[in-house]
Amino acid sequence: MKFFESLLKLDRRIIYIVVGLLVMLPLIKPLGLGVSSGPRARALFDAVDALPAGKTVLIAVDFDPSSMPELYPMLVAMMRHAFAKDMKVLLCGLWVTGSGLADQAAQTIPKEYGKEYGKDVVYLGWKPGVDAVILGMGENIKNVYPTDYYGHPLDSLPMMRDVQRLRDIPIVFAISAGTPGYQDWLLYAQSRYGMRVGAGVTAVSAADAYPFLQSGQLTGLLAGMKGGAEYEVLVQKAGYSKAYMPAVAAMDSQSLAHVVIMLLVIIGNVAYFATRKRSS
């Protein structure tokens, strides 16, 4: 029984070290616990994969740095998928705090596929107003964005010649950490311009998105880091990318972290009940 008592008095810092290591190690050397791609991630992947080369995919970066761990890998994976299929990527955003992230992606990912800014990828930037922005883009993108994030007039960008308004874009992948987000793209882009909408959301708000899946309005859904990892695996299995997959590595850490929490609860309860039985 002495063992259980000492177990109860275990210093918190030992627990912190154990958790810290178990979460950090898989990031350095991924264990590859295998990420099985669920139906929702596959539905989005198939919808994008079926698009012919040359088509443009619109990605809405509607999140800020604080939800970056869960949502940024989705942005990267979708861009890699589009570029590998010689498709073009148009970036925009309804969150002012997301501009830095979209800019970072627009500068780094195209290089991996030898793609050129203005020809294969354009970042429009942020504009205030949610319905005004989406409805405006529906009529004519240039009304809302006369110039892109870097100040180039839209007419000077070759890619924008065959993308005048939302009807020219088959699908929008709205990555949202809250509102404004995918619900606005559904409310304005889909019901008025018939655009297909795929959504990427944080794990906490995934449950709210399920009704839109059942009703068929959402073409696919990536939920939290797991959703990002599923899409990364799909992109890699299709041979579109061999790069390091941050979400997949993170899923190993997430798995270990969950297991550690459960073991701690079990051990804690066993020690608690053992000492209580002895003392009562």
Partner: protein, 217 residues
């Protein structure tokens, strides 16, 4: 392993390590970061409040704009929120500290007046609609079963919250089942919160390992 050269990444990394040092022991490095955090967040909200609310809605129209742009009527209207806002400062003057009740009365009254219909709309009428059993449930056996279970779950859980009757007989059975649903519901949100917090921790480690130390690509 190529460490980052950007000052800003170093600042972010040092602050991250500073906050995490609290896990080992409360120490001056943590206290510095915590007090810095308090100061920066206060300054940030002041700047945002000025540019998003005070300047565009009060200062500019009331003081800067000429009468041609903002008619006298509008300016007088703006004096009301200004006066109410200034009442907050009476809290520091003991004799008139009761004047703080005027802005509180306005904010509370307005807030409650807006909240009541909105709460009826989203938390009651819409939720009732969502709880109805509709003919659609007769589709598949599992859809039917889950619809019945959640229907019973809602009703029993509401019975748990009954206050004006002793929980005896049928009411006791209902509230006991209600507790089961409540606890499973809380367990689910507990599981979710664990996942959300762990993702943030993983995000911090990815920042430290990739952007700062460059150990992972």
């Amino acid at each position: 392993m190529h460490i980052s050269h950007s000052i800003l990444t170093w600042v972010a990394a040092v602050l991250t390590v500073g906050i995490f040092s609290f896990l080992w022991r409360d120490n001056p490095f943590y206290k510095f970061c915590e007090h810095l955090f308090v100061g920066v967040s206060v300054g940030y909200s002041i700047a945002l409040t000025w540019y998003n609310a005070v300047y565009p809605d009060l200062f500019n129209p009331l003081f800067l704009q000429p009468l041609s742009a903002v008619p006298l009527g509008k300016k007088l209207l703006l004096v009301i929120p200004l006066a109410l806002g200034l009442c907050y400062f009476c809290r520091f003057i003991p004799k008139v500290s009761w004047a703080i009740r005027f802005p509180m009365a306005f904010v509370l009254g307005w807030g409650m007046g807006v909240a009541i219909p909105a709460t009826f709309q989203t938390s009651i009428v819409k939720q009732i609609q969502g709880t109805f059993l509709t003919p659609g449930i007769f589709g598949r056996w599992d859809v039917f079963l889950w619809a019945i279970i959640s229907f019973i779950g809602v009703i029993c859980s509401v019975f748990y919250f009954f206050f004006s009757k002793e929980h005896k007989g049928a009411l006791r059975v209902a509230s006991e089942t209600g507790v089961v649903f409540l606890m499973v519901g809380f367990g689910a949100s507990f599981g979710y919160t664990v996942m959300a917090r762990m993702s943030l921790l993983i995000g911090r480690f990815q920042f430290v390992l990739r952007d700062w130390l460059g150990i992972i690509r």
